[in-house]
Symmetry: C2
Amino acid sequence: MAKKDWKAKAKALKKDIKALLKPAVPAKPVKAVSPLAPAKFPILPRIAGAEFSAIEAGVKYQNRKDVMLVCLAPGTAIAGAFTRSSTRSGCVRDCQAKLAMKVPAGAGAAIIVNSGNSNAFTGAVGDEAVAAVTGGVAEALGIPASRVFSSSTGVIGEPLPYERITAKIPELVAQLQEAAIDMAAQAIMTTDTFPKGAAASIEGEGGVINIAGIAKGSGMIAPDMATMLVYIFTDAKISAANLQKLLSRNVDATFNSITVDSDTSTSDTLLVAATGKSAAAEVKGATLKAFEAALKGVMMDLAHQVIRDGEGATKFVEVRVTGAVSDDDAHRVALSIANSPLVKTAIAGQDPNWGRIVAAVGKSGAEADRDKLTIKFGDIVVAKNGWRNPKYTEQDGADYMLQPELVIGVDLGLGRGKRSVWTCDLTNRYIDINADYRS
Amino acid sequence: MAKKDWKAKAKALKKDIKALLKPAVPAKPVKAVSPLAPAKFPILPRIAGAEFSAIEAGVKYQNRKDVMLVCLAPGTAIAGAFTRSSTRSGCVRDCQAKLAMKVPAGAGAAIIVNSGNSNAFTGAVGDEAVAAVTGGVAEALGIPASRVFSSSTGVIGEPLPYERITAKIPELVAQLQEAAIDMAAQAIMTTDTFPKGAAASIEGEGGVINIAGIAKGSGMIAPDMATMLVYIFTDAKISAANLQKLLSRNVDATFNSITVDSDTSTSDTLLVAATGKSAAAEVKGATLKAFEAALKGVMMDLAHQVIRDGEGATKFVEVRVTGAVSDDDAHRVALSIANSPLVKTAIAGQDPNWGRIVAAVGKSGAEADRDKLTIKFGDIVVAKNGWRNPKYTEQDGADYMLQPELVIGVDLGLGRGKRSVWTCDLTNRYIDINADYRS
């Protein structure tokens, strides 16, 4: 063999070996935890009647748990809210269909979730995958398939290799335990930089009622009826109808009031499960009020954690709109500001560029009168009556913008409508995360 | 004096001198011309009856022309379209009020424009500035103030130092000439990296009819009824009513079909002036059709140039939606895709991430059926019938994305509604431009 041929062959071989050594998915850059993350994952109360497990199934990611299972005791009431996207995933359609059946809570129930693949826009094959996974869980737990709910999160349009999940069901079932909710929170992460959990406990009649919830979400966050993946568990005794009522009337002020990037997911799912295993009596009267407040608190906490993990976020921002002709108008203005790339880049640059807030109010479509508009940074009055506040100085604004948590106040001076929306800034890191690799 | 005191004093003095030497506005990073820019500024035909001048007034920028004046012959018909923002600027309100007066075209007319300050959200002081500038021009040219139209573009919320403009009116008037339209195109630039011009000529009855237009715009581009600043001139003989009709019915498919960042400006203004000085007879019949096509061509050309100068843009993208139940629905879907930060960052990363297109269709609010959806990159069928095209390969998609000009095709399979929207990608450069300094 001529030296030249030998060299070429060696080179080709080297290339082959390199390709073989390459992991299935190229290593992602190490994810630094968001600077806005809570100090640590909270200690969540155990919820009697709710058992968790999580496992490595290798759906897409390597070396991490990517499937979680929740087993819920007979009698558990389930309520849900979902994305209104017209291209929503098979899992979402399946959950909606099953909740609409109103199967009596007598049987047990389960929730199975995978990360790494959203099984969205995968047609009939995707529907088969949902049936296989939920059917497999139903069989293993001896419960009706109509009481097994599923979610998938990750890349859109790729067929879900569901056999990797069904093969792990026996192991998932064997490992179920009340104490494993934190592992479940980790298993559902995609571009999240920290797992998200929140809890509350209230005194019921005759015993304590606990609530524990987990969530995932970081990008494609502009929920419409619900957000990302959120699972909240409680041991309260409450009917499915009442649970749904509480959920529905608090979802607008919590999950529907956050936005990272104005992009609504195909998989947004919020499920609340009440096992009824608390020693406390059925939730009603004064307890119902306290329970609703506690549930809303957990929902708000999880929603805020999603924003704190917004892709590339360095600022946590509340946009607080008051004085609108209606709450709907206030919401429209708040979202218009919170979704404005120019407002979000100014915040990233710590630039008190309030003119961009004016423009965002103007484009919102809500009723607004330039000469009645007030704009505030925290307590600093920046502009009022259609004109810059003479006492406002650029330095005051610039100093305020240095803080990691900001409140942008807008009063439209027209009525009593008010709403807040929470968002984050738009940074180069957001571009890098979303331009450089597929999550 | 102790040595220590002396040192401190010297240090303070040095700081003072440094501050004194600092230019009024910090030097901006040198702007590279957009990679999507046309090779050169086109040669625009002279429009009889339209004279231009441009000057350095130092409104905000140093060492560049920042005010332009157009003087239009008696008999010129004027039509306009403006932003619908509820916080639109004093200039826009003034133009709208003057057009509504329907002053007969007998008198001459003028347009005066400054860059560097938008005079938006500047309250009564801003309205005074508009009156002073347009009044000054009216007096200098001996025409009614109701025929002097103005625009201001630049930072929002700062008082316009209008005396710097009024002081230059005599000089502007003295320098008026038909050949200076290219200087005018330069004077209205803000974050633009190239001046924008387009032209057309048609054979009228008895002579040639010329059209020449200029535009500025780069960021805060999501026009609503009109875009940024656009001025189109023609020597056609046509009534103001007919001119307005042609303008209004073509603005939706041109300027209202482009978006850089979903942020609508407070200053969007499109003015078309017809001097009637062509040798050709009044525009009607077959000539009207040809004239409308030529006018639409100039509008489309200028609109596309605005996208080609989108802040940080590296890709020029047409989103072509067909098969919608209505044109409105098609427009909604196209805008939802064109404004999606996730789609735009994927394009920046040359990633054929079509799942994000599916999500953008889903969140649009338009009627869509997953199982009838077709997605194409140019002629490549990526997905159809709610599922990835089996013949599609990731490599085909990746190769396609390398091109600087892309066509994303979406067929909803539901009806005959269709619309195109033009946009650009979302890059780190957009963040840098908008986070690092105030334009």
